[in-house]
Amino acid sequence: MCPDHIIELMHEYLDEEIDSEKEKVLRLHLQNCKDCETIFNELKKTIAFVKSVSNMQAPANFTANVLARLPKEKKKVLMTR
């Protein structure tokens, strides 16, 4: 079993918050540990997948529909729910 702190370092790396000393420790470990290398690659792949589904478009007429639903007199409509 690989040490938990290596997993922690992977997350720090993925958050782009790792310092150079810790990054060295992580790289050294990854070079010598197949299991951790696999975990690290899977984490990176997961992020790539999640990012790949972004950039959605709002439905057509979205803005017009919002404007149509705006209260005419603001003061009368406070909270709808």
């Binding site: 997961t46 790949s52 589904v53 972004s54 709002a58 979205f62 919002v66 404007l67 409509v77």
Partner: protein, 187 residues
């Protein structure tokens, strides 16, 4: 971008609804995406996203103009989605303990070793798979992951939107990543 938005906000406060339309145009895709990833249904997402903008409009005077408008808007939208998710009251949560087991959660009950054929990164099937796995995340991990990776926000912004310390946001993103990794490793 923020400068134009601030100008429009001042016009909205004076009663100019068209200026609000311009604000909606700028943020509609992000807000719709946020709602869709949280709720998982286009119709519900559209309704929630519209409501988020309406709430922003109705409460625009309470917006502190020294702050970033998008942060405030995303906060309204996220809270609204979380409210709606809670109202749906599913009969089980994925991170709830399975009755009669110790520490075994629904995550471990979902078969994750079914190999799927190689697919292209942008394919519809992959999109659906990723969306499905995001929807399996408990709400607290889901919101953090969606804001981080779909809206591409910084940890500080996410912490403001969710009204949580940065450390908590990090933990949620880490756990979310771990859970998604388990589900997506064979894709």
């Amino acid at each position: 971008m923020e400068a134009i938005v601030k100008k429009r906000i001042k016009q909205v406060i004076k009663g100019d609804q068209d200026a609000f339309g311009e604000i909606v145009e700028i943020y509609k895709n992000s807000v719709f995406q946020l709602c869709f990833r949280m709720l998982g249904n286009r119709h519900e997402a559209e309704d929630a996203a519209q409501e988020a903008f309406i709430r922003a409009y109705v409460n625009i005077k309470s917006f502190n103009q020294d702050l970033k408008f998008s942060t405030w808007l995303f906060r309204i939208a996220t809270n609204l989605c979380i409210d709606r998710m809670r109202k749906k009251k599913p009969d089980h949560y994925l991170d709830a303990d399975v009755v009669g087991t110790e520490g075994l959660t629904m995550y471990s009950q979902i078969p994750s070793n079914t190999e799927l054929p190689e697919k292209e990164l942008e394919s519809m099937e992959l999109q659906e798979t990723v969306q499905k796995e995001i929807l399996k995340l408990p709400e607290k991990y889901r919101s953090a992951i969606v804001l981080k990776y779909m809206e591409d926000l910084s940890l500080n912004e996410i912490s403001e939107i969710l009204d949580l310390p940065v450390g908590t946001v990090k933990t949620r993103i880490h756990r979310g990543r771990e859970a998604l990794k388990q589900q997506l490793r064979y894709v």
